[in-house]
């Protein structure tokens, strides 16, 4: 049973560029959430996707956008990268409609903006 998989694991981008991160949820899960974890901090909720729609959003600017595909996989896009966007981006999957179910995390994508 494959867990949550993310790609790429590491990447370096230049300020002003755009980046796309990808996530495949755990088998059987239909909801994907994205978190940003800056160095030395706890993860911060970016947004959640279910049924190919953004369902909830944290306090992040519109430069952060996403998409969910019919197979439940998801992408996180960040435009006009800033140095402060350097962080570990974690994808989490869960099953909608069951409030007590466990949320599973991937190993994250390390983004460095130079």
């Amino acid at each position: 049973d494959a867990g949550v998989t993310q790609s790429p694991t590491h990447l370096i981008k230049t300020r002003g560029q755009q980046v796309t991160l990808r996530c495949s949820p755990k088998s059987g899960h239909d909801t994907v959430s994205w978190y940003q974890q800056a160095l030395g901090q706890g993860p911060q909720f970016i947004f959640q996707y279910y049924e190919e729609e953004e369902r909830q959003r944290g306090n992040f600017p519109d430069r952060f956008s996403g998409h969910q595909f019919p197979n439940y996989s998801s992408e996180l896009n960040v435009n006009a990268l800033l140095l402060g966007d350097s962080a570990l981006y974690l994808c989490a999957s869960s099953l909608q409609g069951i409030s007590g179910n466990t949320i599973y995390f991937g190993e994250g994508s390390w983004l460095t903006v130079v």
């Binding site: 909801t31 030395g40 901090q41 706890g42 911060q44 949320i103 190993e107």
Partner: protein
């Protein structure tokens, strides 16, 4: 909005000893879930233990147990018989039990780095 506070940036414990990590939270909800996640150097968040707020009994998972004080909004993690493999960042997290789109959102604390010494 809910907040989670971990006031211990770093803790150290000797192998085979017991250590307690602290967490407090703030919420106006009466039903919710609390979690402790472990994040080793590999960076993957691993669920250690969970507690449903409506349950009075403290959760236990092998060497890990919690002390859940709902009135005080306190949720501490006790690790018994500490092992070298327990060394990691530990995050306390809150999750609403409302069965809506917000149900899956986790609110994390800033973490406690646990060192295990010989």
């Amino acid at each position: 909005a809910q907040t989670v506070t971990q006031s211990q940036p770093e803790m150290s414990v000797q192998e085979a000893e017991t250590v307690t990590l602290s967490c407090t939270y703030d919420t106006s909800e009466s039903d919710y879930y609390l979690f402790w996640y472990k994040q080793p150097p590999s960076r993957q968040m691993i669920l250690v233990i969970r507690q449903e707020a409506y349950k009075q009994q403290n959760a236990t998972e092998n060497r890990f147990s919690v002390n859940f004080q709902k009135a005080a909004k306190s949720f501490s993690l006790k690790i018994s018989d500490s092992q070298l493999g327990d060394a990691a960042m530990y995050f306390c997290a809150y999750r609403s039990s409302l069965n809506t789109g917000t149900a899956s959102k986790l609110t994390f604390g800033t973490g406690t780095r646990l060192q295990v010494t010989l």
